[in-house]
């Protein structure tokens, strides 16, 4: 096993994070500057998952409702 730590972060999280509570992550990723200098700390930008995977957990109605919600 590789002894590395991953940080999963997308710039959109710092623009409008956690829906209604605004920009709580505005200082990121800058706030991680010292950690990101460590050779065994890696940053990854997550990508969307397929609806087929979401449907393993949620109903089609929930996916539709989330898509229609003004959030």
């Amino acid at each position: 096993m590789t002894r590395r730590t991953g940080i999963f972060y997308h710039p959109s999280y710092s623009q409008r994070s956690y829906l209604t509570v605004g920009r709580r992550l505005a200082a990121f990723p800058g706030a991680l500057k010292e950690l990101l200098a460590l050779p065994h700390v890696l940053v990854f930008e997550p990508e969307p998952v397929l609806d087929e995977l979401i449907l393993k957990v949620h109903t089609p109605d929930l996916i539709r409702a989330v898509a229609q919600d003004p959030l």
Binding site: F8, S17, E34, P46, V57, H58, L62
Partner: protein
């Protein structure tokens, strides 16, 4: 979240911290709310189960509010241990779904709320997690219970730093250190900036 869980499972990472754009633990199979859309942890678990053969996972939820969506999804699934620190006490018949009432204890503890909360987390996990023998440990970390945030339980960094040591120790004991920390609730940018980096530093220390 899915990518983080997969990279841990495949051994590319020992542990990970996953930031989020929306919450997950209030999203059940057919409902959502509380700033949550999809249950990110559950989606990651299903991916690991289906593609990689994950058998058992333990989730410690220390967001200030009950992880009702996660509980809904895994209510009848004995391969998921779900321990939630919240407002009521409950243990399912098979012992895999556990709620620990911390609200009153923290309010009564006043300045000792960090100590009381951490003791409750340790007591809830100490035997259950090793006995369950999970393949992966997930910590659902919300900082909304910090003093002055919207779920104020009087907690401070002392508590969160204690919990990260707890989950690192447990992960080391039971699943080769495989630990996924998932950001949950919490609204204040100053708290995010002061609380999150030390937690990731602890993960990095464990991996380094």
């Amino acid at each position: 979240m899915v990518a983080a869980a997969e990279r841990i499972w495949l051994g590319e990472l020992l542990n990970a911290f996953a930031f989020i754009g929306a919450g997950g633990h209030h999203a059940g199979r057919d409902f959502f709310g509380g700033y949550c859309c999809f249950n990110d942890v559950a989606i990651a678990i299903e991916r690991l189960r289906e593609v990689h053969g994950l058998r058992r996972v333990a989730i410690l939820d220390t967001d200030a509010h009950h992880g009702d969506g996660t509980r809904d999804i895994y209510r009848d699934d004995p391969t998921v241990l779900h321990i939630c620190l919240c407002g009521s006490d409950y243990v399912s018949a098979d012992g895999t779904k556990v709620d620990v009432a911390v609200y009153r204890r923290c309010f009564e503890a006043g300045a000792r709320s960090d100590e009381v909360y951490l003791e409750a987390a340790e007591a809830a996990c100490a035997k259950r997690v090793p006995d369950f023998r999970p393949d992966l440990l997930v910590w659902y970390f919300g900082f909304d219970g910090h003093r002055g945030d919207y779920g104020d339980l009087g907690l401070t960094a002392t508590c969160y730093n204690g919990i990260v040591r707890l989950v690192l120790d447990l992960a080391g004991q039971v699943c080769g250190g495989r630990l996924l920390v998932v950001l949950g609730g919490g609204s204040r940018a100053d708290l995010a900036s002061s609380l999150i980096p030390p937690i990731i530093a602890c993960l990095a220390d464990a991996a380094g």
